[in-house]
Point group: C2
């Protein structure tokens, strides 16, 4: 059976900690819309990460070890983030700061979703940061969807013909880009 080997694992990170978040809803819709061979899991640890401090790195705090495990598990990283004052949310950047020194990010395919087409500054900063960290941005899997102010939850997004079509196409493009990479060599949890 080679079907197990073909499962593509994607870690999804929302840049918002709000209980009701358009970006989180967009990721939940992506989970609902994904075919069986694409396993998207929502990272829930962003708000529990300590503030990055290089002095702490020799012995990772447990929340950071968990982040590294989830990153190593994944074949690709999908981020959907709001923009705060034309910048990346600090808590999301803090997660990335913990990963700068590790190997988990190197060569990792990255897709950037965006619940507001107007959030161009944060998106540009994120692209600069993830490529500086040697992540592989997959532009054809990166989409901006006009969700802000529309109060759509994940089910409503998944039921919207236009948005769900965009999301499904992006996920398919992400999986295709991941599938073209060499097979994973390292063991995963």
């Amino acid at each position: 059976m080679e079907s197990t080997a073909q499962i593509i694992r994607i870690l999804a990170v929302s840049g918002s900690l709000r209980r009701v978040s358009s970006n989180t809803a967009l990721l939940q819709a992506a989970i609902a819309l994904s075919p069986p061979n694409i396993d998207i899991r929502l990272y829930s640890g962003l708000g529990n990460l300590p503030h990055f401090n290089p002095d702490l790195e020799p012995a990772d705090p447990p929340a950071v070890s968990d982040l590294r495990r989830q990153m190593a598990w994944s074949d690709g990283l999908l981020i959907s983030s709001p923009e705060y004052a034309h910048g990346v949310p600090g808590s999301l950047k803090n997660m990335l700061d913990w990963l700068v020194s590790g190997e988990e990010f190197v060569g990792k395919p990255i897709a950037l979703f965006n619940a507001s087409p107007r959030a161009v500054h944060a998106q540009a900063s994120l692209i600069e940061v993830v490529t500086t960290m040697a992540g592989q941005l997959v532009p054809e899997a990166s989409i901006a969807v006009a969700l802000l102010g529309r109060q759509l939850d994940a089910a409503a997004i998944a039921a919207d013909p236009e948005i769900s079509g965009q999301v499904k196409a992006a996920i398919a493009a992400f999986a295709a880009a991941i599938g073209q990479l060499p097979p994973r060599s390292s063991p995963r949890a």
Copy 2:
């Protein structure tokens, strides 16, 4: 006596949580080099701030209330920050995220120090963010000093004729810019 009224209060924020940090040392040197009428205080709460979450804002967590009080106390904000992966450290951006919604930042004079002249991406992002937040960047008070890798502590920075000259000139320029603003109307702690 009008000398009390002429004291200029500056809140200094280091973007690094390292125990031994060039950016923190640069701010400590600024404190040591300041004349008596300029009161620079180092903010020590960055690592204790919760992750920004708009859901929490109606009742600020205590660490956020303390941040707002210190911002309201200050006539100007002086930031010295490293660059992580071409971006602003998440913990520093997280502090700014808490201040986006408040009045403390509006019109606040801002000086940006930088312990590495090569950290141009984070500096550009910071400028975009603080001006988006309606802060008033004071370019003549913003300096880049080549400290990285030189292991200089605050005393060594203050004793270095060239660097201390740069720092003193920047602080004087910052104070002059603040002095040209209309008098403060709100009571301060």
